[in-house]
Subunit: 407 residues, 2 copies
């Protein structure tokens, strides 16, 4: 016996997205302006109706009690009627449970689907916290590789078949994808659905970026894969949709009643979702379509700016993302994490620098993605232009300094 931190916690991976934060804090302390292309924290205005609902509820409130562990019925009914029905996802109230944002929803979904020792198939690159929660629950992620040069398109389903073992329990994906911005086509989703059905696997579909699609086709939800009703567990959130990241409100949705019964056990163990955030989410249900249209147009401008500027940098390859507000970019460096650190510690242009997220931890396959970074195009075009100009200049300087290594 000794007073030590559990081995599980010691070996727990620190957040890849947040681990460079001390370096950016230090840069700021030196007076450097840091352009944040590293986190999916957009500057878009939230719909006023969200905050108005909170203000209305708080005025004259007596006390703030627990809600049902599944969330306020007003929010659950509102989501079903005012949001999901409108976008063509046909569900009943008992098939939806409010969670503490998408983070809790996918953590619960993974545990409902898989025991310690079980395996879940993901498509590479994938959101790093999937790995964190897999690790914490003794679940192994098996990764289907994709190719940045092919815009991260989903490979032939035989690549999924190769990974199946007796311990495989689910496929987990985000669509549109964080970090790649990949938008899964209807055909790709149908193929994955067929695969899940044939192998009796759950399909955990994280669709928190659903409103951020830049093709003419509507987003195709896993909830609408015919014959997959019992397989699909939908993970959703109001964080990105209404730019209410701080509300910490999401939901888990499934036609599978056993899944919902299981999810309710987890919900009860943490008593209830944040109530003030639930009020904001209720208010946000009245967001007009024009809000989404404007936000979408704005992100298309930003994406186009980002992709054009990135591909104009010597040696950089940036595929065009069709969803979310991220893109994974190949840089002409050996170690993108070293470059990202260097941008914060050693480089500035007129007192400013740009922060990006090294992408290696979005991959499971060893060595893959070491020269990739994730760019979140979450700034207005003028600021984005400056940030990318600085990134390009930094890259040039860094390459000159590291010419020997690259040779």
């Amino acid at each position: 016996m000794s007073l030590h931190i559990s081995a599980k916690t010691q070996a727990m991976p620190a957040s890849a997205i947040r681990k460079l934060v001390p370096l950016s804090d230090a840069a700021k302390a030196r007076g450097i302006h840091v352009y944040h292309l590293n986190v999916g924290a957009p500057d878009i205005k939230s719909p006023d109706c969200a905050f108005q609902a909170v203000v209305d509820k708080c005025k004259g409130m007596h006390h703030l009690s627990y809600t049902n562990s599944a969330g306020l019925i007003e929010l659950r009914e509102g989501m079903v009627e005012k949001y999901y029905k409108k976008i063509g996802i046909d569900i009943e109230v008992p098939e939806l449970l409010v969670d503490v944002a998408g983070s809790e929803a996918f953590a619960v979904a993974m545990q409902v689907a898989a025991d310690p020792g079980d395996e879940i198939i993901v498509v590479e690159p994938f959101y790093t916290n999937y790995q964190t929660f897999a690790y914490l629950n003794g679940i192994t992620l098996k990764a289907v590789p994709t190719d940045i040069r092919e815009g991260f398109r989903i490979p032939d389903i035989s690549e999924f078949e190769k990974l199946v073992t007796p311990r495989t329990r689910a496929v987990l994906l985000s669509n549109p994808c964080n970090p790649s911005g990949k938008l899964f086509t209807k055909e790709e989703m149908l193929a994955i659905g067929d695969f899940c059905r044939r192998h009796e696997l759950f399909l955990i579909s994280d669709e928190v970026y659903r409103e951020f699609c830049y093709t003419d086709e509507p987003h195709f939800s896993a909830m609408n894969i015919p014959g997959c009703e019992q397989n699909v567990i939908l993970v959703d959130s109001v964080s990105k949709r209404y730019n209410l990241c701080g509300a910490r409100i999401g939901c888990i949705v499934s036609h599978n009643r056993d899944v919902m019964t299981a999810a309710m056990k987890f919900a009860q163990s943490r008593l209830c979702p944040p109530v003030l955030g639930q009020y904001a989410a209720i208010g946000a249900l009245d967001t007009p379509q024009s809000y989404f249209d404007e936000v979408r147009a704005e992100y298309i401008r930003r994406r186009d700016c980002a992709v054009e500027m990135l591909n104009a940098m010597p040696g950089v390859f940036a595929p065009t993302p069709y969803g979310a507000f991220y893109t994974v970019v190949e840089l002409p460096v050996a170690d993108a994490e070293d470059f990202a650190r260097w941008m914060l510690t050693d480089f500035n242009r007129d007192g400013a620098t740009t922060m990006v997220t090294p992408a290696a931890s979005f991959y499971k396959t060893p060595g893959v993605g070491r020269n990739h970074v994730r760019i979140a195009y979450v700034l207005e075009v003028p600021a984005l232009r400056k940030a990318l100009t600085i990134l390009g200049e930094g890259l040039e300087t860094y390459r000159k300094q590291h010419a020997d290594e690259m040779a």
Copy 2:
């Protein structure tokens, strides 16, 4: 392979506190008024300053972004300066991290202290969700028994010693205790502290009911056990203190830097605590002392009413609780869960019934507590009186119907 819910989830215990909710919902649907003595959801007014802070922040807010994973610095500094310093707990800001209520704080504390296969010592009866999170993380709880007839006083430390094995990692307790209302004395805490120091164990002290103490002695926090600075992990929450259960804001506090580094990894994995709740908690820091004094006086009235009425019922034994707003009561029935169900399904007096929580699941030792219920005295005295009158009448009727079983 087959599409089934994980064995871990299937075997996960459903919330003992919430599992009778469907029966109370059904009673209400039949037009029965249900007095809720089953949940710690008080009717006390929250301080106005909490809601005012939310209103002030929401007016004109642009968007609701993530905060630091450790919480807003304004809240962390405020808790340290305006709350903990005032009550004699001397900590620095890096020693406090905001969590999603006490629920997340103790779940994290348990995982930081113990690996799967490790053991944590608890004092019986204990908060049932400790068992849930122990189960989910493969941790075994070992229970030190107490005796309701002795007011749940902490037994000689030799009872703790008996449970120590090479896998013991921590002692976990709530003080004042949910469910028993037991308030640990300074002497009891020093003895437990000494035990933890000798065996190099963490002492996870859940003090979310700290403001609800009914003796003349001030609450003695585990944070003030001399020489235990590296052992103690404090779990706290604004839920009960300001009746902001729905805010879902708590914190984990420790002088042990390794613990805080570990807790931060968990914090990053769920991005940030609810931001609107953080605003409410910041506002609540300006709650005047008179608020706590009035609430305390009110709970003493309720407790005295409850204990007197309960002990006046034939065959009932109710010890006097000195903290929190619960008491565990011995009933003259063979199976308190059956009785609690029966109160909801088969009994009413003039269209009203009373709901209590069967206490067996607050015990780890098999068979112990089967004739115990937890009573939350969270209603104003007139309503509490009615609820307990109905409980007494129900008990009499139930005993007559079950006379054979009891004989």
